[in-house]
Symmetry: C2
Amino acid sequence: MNQSEAKRGRPSKDKDSLSAELIISKVKFMMDGTGKVPSMRAISKELNVDPMALYYYFNNKSILLEGVAKSLMSEIYVPSGKLDWKQELKKLSISYLAILKKYDGLLETLLSMSSNSPADVFISRFSLIVSPLKLRNDQEKAFLDLLVDYLHGFSMALACDSTGELTPDCADNSLDFLFKGVRVRTTT
Amino acid sequence: MNQSEAKRGRPSKDKDSLSAELIISKVKFMMDGTGKVPSMRAISKELNVDPMALYYYFNNKSILLEGVAKSLMSEIYVPSGKLDWKQELKKLSISYLAILKKYDGLLETLLSMSSNSPADVFISRFSLIVSPLKLRNDQEKAFLDLLVDYLHGFSMALACDSTGELTPDCADNSLDFLFKGVRVRTTT
DNA sequence: TTAATATATTCTACAATGTAGAATAAAGTT
DNA sequence: AACTTTATTCTACATTGTAGAATATATTAA
């Protein structure tokens, strides 16, 4: 709350009071367009609440941001199982890129998370899609790392690009190039 | 300078006085180990100078950091021309990664630079190495983007990794996987 | 030589950031 | 009714980048 116009102490019961979910959804709303993470003060202002109120729900800012990141997992493409692996992988990658573009301020948060991150969801869906290829374990791992790190790198490039020339579909060619090179182990 | 123990105004002529180069090399020295960018105050303290003195040489911090980034170009591998393209590209990539690891706080600076960045040097050396492959233009571009963005993504993962499990040579497998997939156009 | 100007520095100060710590008031429990 | 827990606001601090003004030396012009 602002200049001494707000009551201190626990507020009287209210249906739509503050909550972790409300905070997270407000942050996502505020990131829309810019993709940048707002300051704690800016968030609290949008919620008509004192900055420190946020700390009741999240111990610190990076935990709040991890909460936001976790909430994005549902936006990742779920393989249909009906398309061939290249198409599925393309769809998976594009959906992941779309998230990274929309919330690029979360990239570091994402990479720093030890588990339950969108990256983990991506990884498990990748494995699902790619399993029919019967790649050797180390080959699948190499493929996965290459793809994931490429996507992170690309979205960083997107975020840093001030010219506006770079768009998400610039990734298309590189993805095709990558997929084309994958040697499918023909079943013996 | 610190608590009012320093003379104001232009200092009397001195051989080893402040300069853009001195500032840049001090920043590089300070980044050694952590890879993190120091604050302007921290830099100025190391140089026994007032923070604002730095602004005489660089209009703002990000221009200073661009200066640091530019100075790193010389550390990028120069193709010998004696190895095959895979080995050359591997060496080029590894040297680039080593820089990114050592100075990971500069990643954003690097990606935001419009020209004369180490990334540009990387690109031109890539072209040199890869030209014998006679790839189609769009294919070479796709390859390059894939590689560069992968390297940026990987070094971001390195920087964010708190477990310490991730090391630069984890990139080896992915690079091999990538190179193996490249279809060389056999000369007609 | 002296006056004017350019150069290189320090000092003070401000706005923005994350957040620790204490005060406070309503809700829930005994 | 007293005590405890919960959810909030307020105050305050350290850190950041850097604008603006004061100042002292170096260089150039008169």
